[in-house]
Amino acid sequence: MSGTTQSRKAPERGESTSPVVLELRDLHVFYGAIEALKGINLTVRRGEVVALLGANGAGKSTTLRTASGMIAPREGQVLLHGERVDGIKSHDLVRFGIGHVPEGRGVFPRMTVRENLQMGAYRFKSVDKDDLDRVFTLFPRLGERKSQLGGTLSGGEQQMLAIGRALMGKPEVLLLDEPSMGLAPLIVQQIFEIIKEINEQGTTVLLVEQNASQALRMADRGYVLETGSVAMEGGAAELLSDPRVRAAYLGEGAA
């Protein structure tokens, strides 16, 4: 795999000192009697791309869903700019600047691309024309398919639409749940490049990924989850070269 996201900035960006936007403090989340998260601590600073890695069932999506208000933690806190937001429902949390692209994309299948994007701006009185143009510039393919129905788009286009729709809500932090799921490597690369671009335009990104190597190439920092706890954390480059990560998630050497 060739490193396509070569626009790495100075490595010390990993130890960014910009203010913390999103912080998860000692999160415990249960599904019935099963403890899915066993005390997760995580910080996201302004302007960062943070990757959340781990095997199936490690608790990545649960972490993201808790951050976006879809699940309320039994213990622990979710802090947005230092203020507690856990327990706020996801539809209200959208107003605080959290944009969530749920797992499996979830575009509205029988709305056109444009209607889908308009729904993304639901929290505003009217649709911001500039935002719409911005999405169509980021994703020219969506611009070509404005009046096509969401359900008839290809998987990659649906992912683009889901991200575009989240952007229409002018999020400060974008939570992405496995944007690469079920997509061809080439499309994944494209989408990751666009995510990087969105980040450079000023949106902070928290990203859940199975595809560890590509995610880490793009991210500033990463967290590796194992069975509901943070097993490792650090700068992306650092994690990428860590032998344990390479063994477990990049398919190198014996697992």
Partner: protein, 462 residues
């Protein structure tokens, strides 16, 4: 890929042995083709009809009656009709649609002019709407008393109910089978507040003043029922609402000290007394009709504004994908409750109007069948389309009444059922479908998403 390139070994195997499992599974039997399946359904319908319209086993010997049914002309008549419907639909559909296209083309000149005038000339629009309204208001004056009666007691009431249910099912996608429960609550509210029940209200009110109270009561009932169960969707919600209907129905039937039970309630009719002006609604159906037209127009005005507002878009989003709707900032619970409560209160208004018109009702007037019928009207007309559901209700209520003159009155609803069956085979989107609903069905046929407006959208099941 060509089949000719198979190796000699393969071809010899194919010749010598039975077809492989895959080949057998791939083979489509002729009777599995949709066309022949539809014929099968229509023929089954024809046989059923022969049985139902033929000799009756209760009046004559059962087996004699059966034999009469299948030896007489009835069978051939029904089979003929079934085959004719099938042939026209399957083989002459090109010609039929060609004729439709030709008509469209030749008429497109004048039509386009009309459409353009409609689009550009606001006063024309208002004029046509007013003319239509005037026709709806004064036209029935020319009808016979019997049809006026049908128009008020049934068509007008059911149109109002259907418009209400359309909000719940057509727009928000919540399958509500207990809709008539709210109709009953409205009717019993009217009885209670006008002092017709064994329990006396704190103040006896005029029927018209009961309407806001009934709306409020149904809103509260709708929210009380809705709040705990709206996490459910589709089939589950349908069962819960069905249960709710049974609770209301059985309470009306069995709580005799409150509701008079099966003896029924006698309610005063509408009246106005403003001191300087007073009027009483008596036996003439038309004054009731005008009241109902008033309610319907008011409801239409409010609902049409909702449809294209943020609320309407939120309902569409919820119907399509609840998780995604929540992720874009739609408060799903609130909007579902809202749809439920709006539907319930419309039903309540219809209940008050019904009670104040008929003057007497009992729990049997709120049987579960009515909930199903109202649902059928919505589906028949076209879920989510206001003109569609109004037409659906008006036509399907009118049909059994009109059939009274043609067929054995006992059989009328059978024809209604048959119409619904044929309709669902050939035009599942309804007579005048909404644009969105049409899309849903087209996409379902192409394998994207379900045709079931009330189920979860595809790919979101967890």
């Amino acid at each position: 890929m060509s089949m000719k390139t198979s190796t000699p070994a393969e071809s010899s195997r194919n010749e010598s042995m039975a077809p492989s499992a895959a080949a057998r599974l791939r083979k489509v039997h002729w009777y599995q083709e949709p066309r022949w399946r539809r014929l099968g359904a229509l023929l089954a319908l024809a046989v059923t009809f022969t049985l139902m319209t033929g000799e009756e086993g209760t009046t004559r010997d059962l087996f004699l009656a059966l034999r009469e049914d299948f030896t007489g002309p009835g069978l051939w008549l029904w089979v003929g009709i079934a085959v004719l419907v099938w042939v026209v639909r399957e083989f002459l559909s090109d010609q039929a649609s060609g004729a439709a296209k030709w008509t469209k083309r030749t008429a497109s000149g004048p039509f386009a002019a009309v459409r353009e005038a409609w689009g550009s000339n606001a006063s024309l629009r208002v004029g046509v709407l007013l003319a239509g309204l005037a026709l709806a208001v004064f036209g029935p004056l020319g009808l016979e008393r019997y049809w006026q009666q049908v128009l008020v007691d049934q068509i007008a009431i059911f149109v109002l109910l259907t418009i209400g249910l359309n909000v719940v099912i057509g727009w928000a996608g919540l399958l509500d089978l207990g809709f008539i429960a709210f109709f009953a609550i409205g009717a019993y509210s009217a009885a209670y507040w006008t002092g017709a029940l064994p329990v006396q209200p704190p103040v006896v009110l005029n029927n018209f003043l009961v309407i806001p109270i009934a709306v409020a009561t149904c809103l509260v009932a709708g929210v009380l029922l809705g709040a705990p169960v709206l996490r459910l969707r589709g089939d589950y919600l349908a069962i819960v609402t069905l249960g709710f209907h049974e609770i209301v129905y059985l309470m009306a039937k069995n709580a005799e000290s409150v509701t008079e039970g099966v003896r029924g309630v006698k309610v005063e009719r509408f009246s106005i007394d403003l001191g300087f002006f007073s009027y009483e609604w008596k036996l003439d159906p038309m004054p009731y009709y005008w009241v109902l037209i008033g309610f319907t127009v008011l409801a239409l005005f409010l609902f049409l504004r909702l449809e294209h507002s943020k609320v309407g878009r939120a309902w569409t989003a919820i119907r399509e994908d609840e998780v995604a709707a929540a992720a874009t900032g739609v408060n799903t619970v609130r909007y579902k409750l809202m749809a439920f409560a709006i539907g319930a209160s419309t039903s309540g208004v219809a209940g008050v109007a019904y009670a104040s018109k008929v003057g007497y009702f009992n729990p049997e007037n709120f049987a579960i069948l009515l909930s199903i019928l109202v649902l059928a009207y919505v589906v028949f007309g076209g879920m989510g389309s206001i003109p569609g559901v109004i037409f659906g209700a008006a036509f399907l209520v009118w049909l059994p009444e009109a059939l009274r003159e043609w067929v054995d009155p006992k059989d009328r609803y059978m024809y209604l059922g048959a119409l619904l069956v044929v309709m669902m085979i050939y035009r599942p989107q309804g007579v005048l479908p909404s644009r969105r609903r049409k899309r849903e069905l087209e996409m379902a046929e192409a394998g994207i998403g379900g045709a079931d407006a009330t189920g979860p959208a595809e790919g979101r099941q967890q």
